[in-house]
Subunit: 200 residues, 2 copies
């Protein structure tokens, strides 16, 4: 019997390196499907529908919203962005593992709707390193910087709602741990009841 | 802060290769402490106290029993055998990971007393292979053989009470999965609350 694909959610505060970790993970597990968002904004030059985003009209977005097709969504500068549940389910139902990279607020919403997902929280290696990474992102005023650090601290406290925590000290070590988590989750009894039942 | 060592419990019906898998696992993770039983039987030639078993007197055994020092115990042919909880806890409290190989009945008792353990159930690759392995163990009458197979089937049904199931098709693949499970369990949020708290 074909097993349903695993949904792995990589999340964490800004400055913890979610993007870099996911990129490396996908390079090592190319059979995974990277879940992309649907958006109502116009494609930029070179962006392809179904690759960077599902580019859909505002009408389409509202219709998906009414049909509860989004795991979560947000409006940013007048454009809508959402994580389409049905695109993820389609893949998972054909046995494909799905990777979703998402911020903390988004992940908490996804947890409610996909309790069988695997929720991994990336941590920066230290508080100093977190501050450095946020600083290196731009030339902010000390006030803005302080607000970003406070916001990251608040997000990190929400890490306790996840199942796993991985310290992103080196990308290779973090990716190795995430791969081990995926292997372990595939061995969970709840995902293998059929393997036990063939003996009864 | 030093983390408490992990207790990994490898269990399964007879004929699933627990012993072979544990031996290989210990060869690859030699820093693990293999939990041995305490017994009141006399040491055989070459057996060393603290290596094969903790050899203790009947009085000592009864005293440990009264002090609830056993995770589980059994009497076999007039000798007592038990899994000493305090020997495991001593190791775990000094940060050492512990491996416990135990039959299904024993594992179910350990689960009650050590809810923070990692419970892995080994499955034979197929029903035919299970029958072959039981057959190859000795020259039993068809009746005895049938009883052993029925007993193994009943034990396998109890696999649903574990956290993980690993099919022992090849020892190397099974050991790789168990190592991944150990890595993943070390990343469990419940075992890393201190890592999150340093940011608050």
């Amino acid at each position: 019997m074909m097993k349903k694909g695993l949904l792995t959610v990589i999340s964490g505060a800004s400055g913890t390196g979610k993007g870099t970790v996911c990129k490396k993970l996908l390079a090592e597990l190319p059979e995974m499907f990277y879940s992309i968002s649907a958006t109502t904004r116009q494609p930029r030059t070179g962006e392809v529908d179904g690759k960077e985003y599902f580019f859909i009209s505002v009408e389409q977005f509202k219709s998906w919203l009414a049909e509860e097709k989004f795991l979560e969504y947000a409006e940013v500068y007048g454009n809508f962005y959402g994580t389409p549940a049905h695109k993820i389910e389609e893949r998972r139902n054909s046995g494909v593992d799905v990777l979703l990279e998402i911020d903390v607020q988004g992940a908490l919403k996804v947890m409610d709707k996909c309790p069988d997902g695997v929720y991994i929280f990336l941590l920066p290696p230290s508080f100093d390193e977190l501050c450095n990474r946020i600083k290196n992102r731009g030339t902010e005023t000390p006030d803005v910087l302080q607000r970003r650090i406070e916001s990251a601290k608040n997000e990190i406290a929400l890490g306790k709602k996840y199942q796993y925590v991985v310290v992103n000290d080196t990308v290779d070590a973090a990716v190795a741990k995430i791969k081990a988590i995926i292997t372990a989750e595939r061995c969970k009894v709840s995902r293998n009841l059929d393997e036990i039942d063939i003996f009864s």
